[in-house]
Amino acid sequence: MKDSGTVIIGMGNRLLSDDGVGFAVAVAVAERLKHHMDVTVTELHTGGIRLMEAMAGFKRAVVVDAMLSGAHPGTVRRFDPRDFVTTKNTFSSHDTDFATAYDLGRMAGVPLPEQVSFWGVEAREFDLFGERFTDEVAAALPVAVDLIVAEITEWEGVA
């Protein structure tokens, strides 16, 4: 377990078309930042307690996930944990939502990050097996990467 650095958690299933966008964004963000700071990429399929555990020990955490909010496919949105809206995979049907998991971690004395942000990319195709993104989501990928790189850079105070 680390006690510093930033973890970028890409959520979703890489085999379910647009559901894989979270991980693809996470990898691309880390690629841009890895020579400048301590970044770790984690792939996660379900949320809830697993998500809380995945950010344990890091100073900062960014969660990237597909979302199904009804917005235009490819829309990129940032969520603060305080006004947290559930994105596609941050909830676990097997245990609990992220907010409860986060409180559980605090109760159990798990070292949790000071800063957490959630990023959602609106998906179009999410229940079809496939390893390609739809055009809208493919186009949104670099947009999401730029926004997240900018946020982490600001947090870290790195030029």
Partner: protein, 497 residues
């Protein structure tokens, strides 16, 4: 006919809903629990090399990747005609026990337990793992997290990767364990046993010693006399990793015992026009609709049904708890070690804890096995023995899981079929929802009570249909609409997740 719609899944989490139809007298006529499916899985797999399957299928479900990984690996043993070495089977089972411990622990403390420990009618904001910790003691939060952590570490080094294991290969396992790793596993297993015992004691003190909760567990609200299914070893005792599929009838008589590779002779799937998911049933009994009884081919594949088919438990502490459960229900012994089946579905929560203890004890047995650090982890497949067909089966925490692959002579997949754990229980789950509706819809019960009881019906099966779908309600937004026979809305109840 009046119609009630329970739509527990918002657009955010996917889709799926329950329709309850009332007759003109206002009584429940029928219940339709609709589940959509992920599309294109077979097409996605066909044309790929069979050996990719253990790493593809372990992504089908984020909750039980280990179960899919092992079922896929066992199917590959068949495809390549490669019998795993003795230690390979033990390493696979060892990983699986660590997984079972985390999965059953999480279900009890986060989903199943809150209904009893916090109370079935407590507000949803308290009926969660935080509420359990407040009631049992805050240190239990740390114990649950520590349990998950020590077992996830073992799954990671045994499986070669966290979350999505990669170590399963046809004919064996791709890595041996060191003596230091064995020591770590032994220590974790001992802690698991202690934690499982603590959990059973908690269940006894809070649930079984409380007459109100005990009445709930033993009440007939979710009672269905179905057939029971589970995997058994050569001594007809529960085994999660390997064995024969045993089915007992509602009275407890053995109906059939078959090799998992013969599943098509015994299991058929009922297609209904209104749902994508098929209802599996016992072919030789037949489909008689969503009804229980010895004439209906509906079976259950749950922790409770696994215990119903087992001649006691294979480990001593779990066996003592097994006996206690059946004695509590007043079941008579029908063999030297086995009792009449329990059909009260809420007892599934208790059975799950007995399985938790068994998995912990079995993990220790495997860790102490003198062979466990052997480097002989693999038989390299011999091309002359290539078969091209493989059927692999394990007990997933939520039911028997079967993978069936067929390939051409190059090992390229031509056919893929699966029956996933929860799917086995689609019919009983539908019946439990109907029963909850029958008891409550016409009783003028408050909204919360109806929503709670419908949720409890889901939850006792530990449904995880991410295999076949995206999400099912564990705790999530729930909408129940009751309509009159003209389809007009009479009443609507909502709960945010």
């Amino acid at each position: 006919m009046a119609r009630i719609t329970i739509d527990p899944i918002t657009r955010l989490e996917g889709h799926g809903k329950i329709d309850i139809f009332l007759n003109d007298q206002g009584r429940v006529e029928n219940t339709y629990f609709q589940i959509p499916e992920l599309r294109g899985f077979e097409q996605f797999c066909v044309g790929r090399m069979a050996e990719e399957m253990p790493v593809i299928t372990n992504r089908i479900c984020g909750v039980c990747p280990e179960a899919h990984h092992l079922a896929a690996t066992k199917a590959l043993d068949g495809v390549f005609g490669a019998e795993p070495t003795s230690v390979a089977k033990k390493l696979r089972e060892l990983l699986y026990m660590a997984f079972f411990v985390t999965d059953h622990t999480t279900h009890f403390y986060a989903l199943g337990g809150p209904d009893f420990i916090v109370g079935p009618d407590a507000p949803p904001s308290e009926r969660n793992i935080l509420g359990v910790a407040r009631k049992v003691g805050l240190e239990v939060a740390g114990s649950v997290i520590a349990c998950r952590k020590r077992n996830h570490e073992i799954i990671t080094f045994l499986g070669g990767r966290s979350i999505h294991p990669v170590a399963g290969v046809p004919g064996g396992w791709s890595r041996a364990i060191t003596t230091e790793e064995r020591t770590q596993i032994e220590a974790a297993a001992r802690k698991n046993i202690a934690f499982a015992q603590f959990t059973l004691t908690t269940f006894e003190n809070i649930v079984l010693k409380n007459p109100v909760y005990l009445d709930l567990v033993t009440s007939d609200i979710y009672l269905h006399r179905t057939y029971s299914m589970g995997t058994v070893d050569t001594g007809n005792q529960t085994n999660f990793y390997d064995g024969m599929i045993r089915v007992v009838d509602p009275e407890g008589n053995e109906f059939v015992k078959y090799n998992p590779s013969e599943y098509r002779e015994h299991i058929a799937e009922r297609v209904e026009a209104w749902t994508y998911l098929k209802y599996p049933y016992l072919k030789k009994v037949g489909w008689k609709g969503l009804n229980d009884g010895i004439e209906s081919g509906i079976y259950s594949a749950t922790p409770l049904s696994r215990l119903n088919v087992s001649e006691g438990m294979a480990t001593p502490l779990a066996n003592a708890e097994y006996q206690r459960m059946y004695e509590t229900f007043g079941c008579k012994k029908i063999t030297a070690a086995r009792y009449e089946p329990i059909h009260h579905r809420l007892a599934t929560h208790w059975a799950r804890l007995i399985e938790l203890l068994y998995a912990s004890e079995r993990m220790l047995e495997l860790a102490l096995d003198p062979e466990i650090t052997s480097p002989e982890t693999r038989n390299i497949p011999d091309p002359a023995r290539f078969v091209g067909v493989g059927i692999g089966s394990v007990e997933a925490p939520r039911g028997t899981l079967t993978h069936h692959y067929e390939t051409d002579k190059r090992g390229v997949l031509t056919k893929v079929n699966m029956i996933v754990g929860t799917t086995n229980n689609y019919a009983p789950m539908s019946m439990s929802i109907k029963r909850a509706a029958e008891k409550l819809i016409t009783s003028n019960a408050p909204d919360e009570a109806i929503l709670n009881r419908v949720e409890m019906a889901f939850r006792l099966y530990d449904p995880c249909l991410s295999c076949a779908t995206h999400f099912l309600p564990g705790k999530m937004p729930l909408t129940v609409s009751i309509r009159d026979s003209q389809g007009d809305l009479l009443r609507e109840m909502r709960r945010q997740g």
